[in-house]
Symmetry: C2
Subunit: 235 residues, 2 copies
């Protein structure tokens, strides 16, 4: 298989294997032996680097947080001058990343927390940090979108940021059920429309020029993906 690799890489290989396998099969269906085989290491190596399977799950969630944070921090959607444009460009990026089987586009934290929320507080906390932390990165842009009339009264930026992640997580679940990634694209399209809706409510006095965003705005297609996907694995 993968030729045993260099010394010192076992931990990283186990974390990558964990992200792949857990997204595919869930946490408790992924055995330590599965992980070792996928990573090309032995059980001894596993328990040298991780105190327990639970500890690996926490480390995998943190690894996921780090890699996805880097992906989104480096993405070009931040470059738009207008906050509303940045939010829409973020959603376009999310759409562009939907490709292949659910294991390739769904969220590790969302997958794990369903199984672990009641049984493992550390795993739950790591997943919460991942999801809510990512929501936090959207808050400033959304706050700017809302800072005309709506601020504080009706829609809260932190609340709205969480809602975007709620929609994405739910879209992953339903797309797994329906076996159809199109569900996620539909859901993101609704998010675009909803954001426009609250933005319009927020700033009716200052209509933004040339923004009659009707459904398909500056949508990036699957072919012109703005940047390569980092945690993609072969089947």
């Amino acid at each position: 298989m993968t030729g045993r690799s260099v010394r010192g890489s076992a931990r990283a290989r186990l974390l990558d294997a964990a992200v792949t396998l857990i997204r595919e099969r869930g946490l408790s269906a992924t055995t330590v032996d599965d992980l070792c085989t996928a990573a090309g290491v032995t059980k001894g190596a596993f328990f040298h680097h991780f105190e327990s399977k639970e500890a690996l799950a926490v480390a995998a969630a943190e690894h996921w947080t780090v890699t996805t944070s880097a992906l989104f921090a480096a993405a070009p959607y931040h470059d738009h001058a207008d906050a509303l444009d940045r939010v829409h460009a973020y959603l376009d990026l999310r759409s562009a990343l939907i490709d292949g089987p659910p294991a390739a586009y769904s969220c590790l934290a969302g997958t794990m927390v369903q199984e672990a929320h009641a049984s493992s507080p550390p795993v739950r906390a790591a997943c919460a940090a991942s999801i809510l932390g990512h929501a936090g990165t959207l808050e400033a842009d959304l706050a700017e979108v809302l800072t005309r009339r709506n601020a504080g009264t009706d829609v809260d930026a932190a609340d709205l940021a969480r809602f975007t992640q709620v929609v994405l997580q739910g879209a992953f679940v339903v797309s797994k059920a329906a076996d159809d990634p199109g569900i996620v694209l539909e859901a993101i399209a609704h998010l675009h429309r909803y954001i426009d809706c609250v933005a319009r409510d927020a700033a009716p006095s200052s209509p933004r020029p040339g923004n009659e965003r009707s459904g398909q705005r500056h949508q990036t297609t699957q072919e012109e993906i703005p940047m390569t996907r980092s945690p993609r694995r072969r089947s």
Copy 2:
């Protein structure tokens, strides 16, 4: 515990136990022995009624579909004369049902499908039928809300119905991560607002009288729950 009960009830007791335990711990973390203990039956009874653990999971999903269908079919939100009112009342009911730990308010199908979608086609299909079937019950009302201008062009009723379930499923996931049922209530509040938004876009020529729905419309509180919750268990 529960005193062995009457003969002939083993199957039903196992299904109830399955709904409870799987919502709490997930599918693969719920063992056959756990189910037998919780249901107060023996392994012999289990394998008398179900060919395998997977078969029980399918049956549990179907049982879930039947009980929740009955709950929502009997709910009074259908009585509103106006379609938009019916949709809002449906969401109010969903809000009213949010109480207790995640296992008490979250969806069995959404929980199971995360673990089973790739490993068990029958379970995936049963979960898809449950979620999409429930979405289907909203479609007619949403279609009526949209039948003025938007029909077919921008927002599709089936798509919008699925989106409501996407939001609920995602809210369950994030509320488990954050350990906060309030996330679900927030998400439903956004759904109210979004539905109003697409309804306004759909019918600007016929403004509905006295419907300046601002945030807290005819919201049923936790105290005046319209009907009792059927699949609620004690901890």
